[in-house]
Structures are given as C-alpha cells and as structure tokens.
C-alpha cells in the first residue's frame, strides 16, 4: 500500500507534466489529481482480482462444483413449475440483471417483488448478500430464491429429486461432493450442497479490467502516455468522485463498495403503509437464519468466517440503510437503487446533487450534503461511472464437457 502510494506520486508528476504540455491542444488543461485524490484512486485497485476461497463452502473453487452450479443456474427445473431459473432474472445479456425496476416472481401470479435485481458480476467479492445483507454467505443467499414462495418456490425434496433424477447433474454432484445425492431423508443437505455449487459458480463471475483500471495502472507506473488515453470528461468526473463528491468514502476499494450499509435518503416505502426496513430487517434475518455462518451448515470448523455475524450490532439507524452497491459495470445494470426507482445514471447523480436533507432522517449520513453540481459536472461524473465498465467478461455458460464419474 505504502509502496504503491510512492509509485503513484511519481506517476502523477509525470502525468501532470504531460497534461500541462498538452494544455494548448486540449483547451481545458486538467489539473493533475491532488495527492489525497491520487491515493483515493489507487485504493480502487488492483483489478481484476479472483475471489478468495470461501472456507464456509467446501466446494468453493472446485471445478466439478462450478460446472454443477453453472448447470443449475440456467436450469428452470429448479423451480417446480419449471418456469423460472436464476437466469430468468439474472440475464446474461443484461449483465445478470433483468432491466426491471423491481423483479417479477414466478408461478402463475408472477408477483412484483419488493426489490431490484442486482447484477451478479463480481458478487463473490461481497461479504453481505441482498440489499439488506440478510445473508452472510453466497451459498446461504442462493437458498433464498430457491425456497421463496414468490420466486422459485421449491423445496429441499424437489431439489434433491432434480439432482438425483438427471444423470448429468447426479454425476457432477458425485464428483464435487464425493458421494451420491443423499436420499429423501437427507434432502436438506442436498439442497444446501446445490446452493454451495451455485455459490462456487458465482465466485467465478469476475469481470475484467475497465478503462478506469487502465488509468489507475498507468498512474501507478508513471506511464503518462497511457494515462492520457483516459477521456478528459471522465477524468474530471473521477476528481469529483474521489474528491469533493466524497463518493469513494462509501464506494470504497477495488470493488467500489465498503461492503456495508448506508442511508442515502432514498424513499423506502414499498407500497402505501409498508416500508422496506433495509438493514434493520437484514440483521434480524441473518441472525435468525439457520443457514448462517455460525450455524451447523457452514463447512468452516473454526467458525472464523462467522466473525462478522457474531459481532453484528443493530440499532435504530439501520432502518432505511441499504447495501452500498459495487459500481463496476454500473452502466449496464439500470435501473438503480434497491427498488430500481432511478432509471438512469444521470438521475442517480441528480439524487446526490439535490439530496433532500429532510429525508435523510435523523440517523442518516451526516456525511451526505447536497453537492449542487453544475450540469457539466454531472455529465462528467456520469462519464466517469461509464469508465467502470469492464472491457472483457468471461464466458458465462461455456458448453460443458460430458460428465465422467471420477473415482466411482
């Protein structure tokens, strides 16, 4: 970290020189980033980074489990009415979202759910899952859409039957878990295993570097020519993001999220008379969840990975807090916020610019103040957010080879 900062300063100097010398051409000479801003920029990398192995999931990183998880992700038979797969809401062609404000459930009713479908690229870098962080692991989250009556509405028995009844799935299961799909009486462990395979797959969904990452790297190694390729408007937007906009305080680190929860004054009324309690409900949910990291289904014998859950504090301020979303690929995942209320990035920036201070109720973020950005500044900030789109994405659903039973 220290070393990187040193390098960076050199990079910045070199870059600032180039910016100055090209000022005559570029009309608006850009001041180079201030040292503090420069440090903020460096903190948003390196990228991309593989997801570390999850000690609570014994098949995390296991190739057969990843293949099983991938097959399940795209398989509508996971829902008893065979009309809903994970990919129905997390569409590959929409950066794993559905483009709706709030998701539609399954079955005949297709109920409107309370929340927006988030994208799943880089989801494995998170620590809490769901907008309220109601799950403390990827695998325990994956159980929710499977079991929820408004979504897939499946049961453990249904999932165990699916795994057992399909030769390919059964073969992958046996290879990944080293045993045959458990019998009916132990269906719950088959269900949890299916969720762990799904999680192993989701952990592989890491997107490649973006134009921003190229700038960051260029600054770090002092490559002024490469840094100059980054567009000027985005450069000004980045200065706002990491500087007076204070965005990077919450949208922190390589994945542009501190992994925690804040109240940014978004309304959280679901319908007249019913509010989304946000993080307050999430803490209640994760504590009560028998699949949490402190429970019997975690494969981490030390329970060290459950430390966050163990130490959770709950207070009134948690009402109306939602998870700080990653901003990587945010250009591709409209509409925005926990209920998809804002249609465009421009509207998001307007929210931060005009911020209704009264709505940021008593426990809201004292940090947030209306930024009162000019139109040009708002455009710059949006231009910056667009440079967080990865240039490459791994193939989501490569044709799997046939499963060959190992060591049987």
């Amino acid at each position: 970290m220290r070393g990187a900062a040193g390098l960076t300063a050199a990079g910045f100097l070199a870059c600032g020189l180039v910016l100055m010398s090209s000022a005559a051409v570029a009309q608006t000479p850009l001041p180079g980033p201030a040292p503090e801003e420069l440090r903020n920029i460096q903190r948003h990398g390196p990228w991309s980074q593989p997801v570390p192995r999850d000690p609570s999931n014994r098949v995390s990183g296991n190739a057969e489990a990843i293949a099983l998880g991938r097959a399940l992700f795209f398989d509508p038979r996971l829902s008893p009415s065979a009309d809903l797969s994970c990919a129905t809401c997390h569409l590959p062609e929409r950066a794993l979202t559905d483009g709706r404000d709030r998701a539609r459930g399954g079955g005949a009713a297709k109920p409107r759910l309370d929340r927006n479908t988030p994208g799943l690229w880089n989801v494995g870098h998170g620590r809490w899952f769901g907008w309220d962080g109601g799950s403390d692991s990827l695998w325990s989250f994956a159980l929710r859409p499977i079991l929820h009556p408004d979504e897939m509405g499946a049961s453990a028995a249904h999932v165990a039957r699916l795994l057992r009844g399909d030769a390919n799935l059964a073969c992958r299961y046996a290879n990944a878990f080293g045993r045959a799909v458990p019998p009916e009486a132990a269906a719950e462990s088959a269900l949890v295993d299916a969720a762990k395979a799904l999680a192993a797959y989701l952990e592989t969904l890491v997107s490649g570097a973006s134009a921003f990452d190229e700038l960051r790297e260029a600054l770090a190694r002092g490559d002024a020519t490469a840094a100059a390729r980054y567009p000027d408007d985005a450069r000004r937007g980045l200065a706002l993001f990491a500087g007076k906009g204070q965005c990077s305080i919450c949208h922190f680190g390589p994945n542009f999220s501190n992994g925690e929860f804040h109240n940014i004054g978004m309304p959280h009324m679901v319908e007249p008379g019913r509010v989304d309690p946000g993080r307050h409900g999430g803490i209640r949910r994760v504590r009560a969840d028998k699949y949490n990291l402190l429970g019997a289904f975690s494969d981490d014998a030390t329970r060290a990975s459950g430390s966050r859950t163990l130490h959770l504090a709950q207070n009134h301020g948690n009402y109306g807090q939602f998870k700080v979303p990653s901003l990587r690929n945010v250009e591709l995942t409209a509409p925005y916020m926990h209920d998809g209320r804002l249609a465009t990035l421009r509207e998001v920036v307007r929210h931060y610019s005009e911020l209704n201070v009264d709505r940021l109720h008593q426990d809201g973020e004292a940090l947030l103040k209306p930024l009162r950005l000019s139109d040009a500044e708002s455009e710059d900030l949006v231009a910056f957010l667009r440079t967080l789109t990865s240039r490459s994405f791994p193939d989501l659903n490569p044709a799997p080879g046939p499963c060959e039973r190992r060591g049987a």
């Binding site: 970290m1 305080i249 922190f252 992994g259 925690e260 929860f261 130490h311 004292a366």
Partner: protein
C-alpha cells in the same frame, strides 16, 4: 499524565501483584503502540493488524495502567466517526487476559477517515473515559 508516570504506576502495580517485571511493558510507548490517558489512568493498545484496513474486522490488545494504589475492574471499548456522527456496525467483545489487560475482538472501521476510539475504564473510584483518535485510510 505522562508516559513515564504510567510506566511507573504499571511497574508498581506489577510489583504489588508479583507479576513478572515485563508484564506492563505495553504501557510504554513502542512500535505500533497507541496511547491515551486521563489524570488517573493511562492506556496503551496495539491493533491487529497494526494498520487497520477499512472494512475489515480487527482486534486490539489493551493494557490499562492506573495511578498507584488503584485497580482496574473492567474495560469497555467502542469507536465512531465524530464528524459523521456514527459508531461502528459491529459490537466488540472484550475479555480480560490478566490484571489490567484486555483483548477486544470484532471492531471494524467501515469508512476511511477520522475515527475515535472510546475506552471506558472501570475502577473502584468510578469510570474513566479515554479517547484516542485514529485516521483510517
């Protein structure tokens, strides 16, 4: 209260309790040691990891050095960002590891910026509150 005073008080107490001479060394300044004091107690602590990472749980080991003749009966640890008017999202658990010695686990600074530790030291004569500032980057 000066650093020396603390060291002296610590040593006096250590002698009183028959502890080994090095037992209160943590109350001296040293690499990675953070300190704070009131007129009646001083406190020295070390965080693990030494450089607190934003968004990662950390723990700390604290040693309380009361003025001679006083004992320490308990310690509470908390932290917050005064400028943002919020505390931590996690509640640390404190356990005693020896006379005047404590370990706190489950702390997290979830935003970069100016944080402040608050230590409440319980003594038979009442509670002493010590604040220590910390900048998380």
């Amino acid at each position: 209260m000066t650093l020396k005073h603390c060291a002296r008080a610590g040593c006096a107490l250590a002698a009183l309790l028959g502890a080994s001479p090095g037992a209160y060394a943590a109350c001296d300044a040293g690499p990675g040691v953070l300190r704070g004091s009131t007129s009646r107690v001083a406190l020295a602590f070390r965080t693990d990891p030494p450089a607190i990472k934003v968004g990662e749980l950390f723990s700390l080991e604290a040693e309380v050095c009361p003025e001679a003749g006083t004992s320490v009966t308990g310690l509470r640890v908390d932290a917050g960002m005064p400028a943002h008017k919020h505390g931590m999202n996690y509640r640390p658990r404190v356990s005693s590891t020896g006379p005047g010695k404590y370990t706190a686990t489950g702390l997290m600074f979830h935003m970069p910026g100016q944080w402040q530790f608050t230590f409440d030291v319980e003594t038979p004569a009442g509670r002493e509150r010590i604040h220590v500032d910390y900048t998380a980057q």
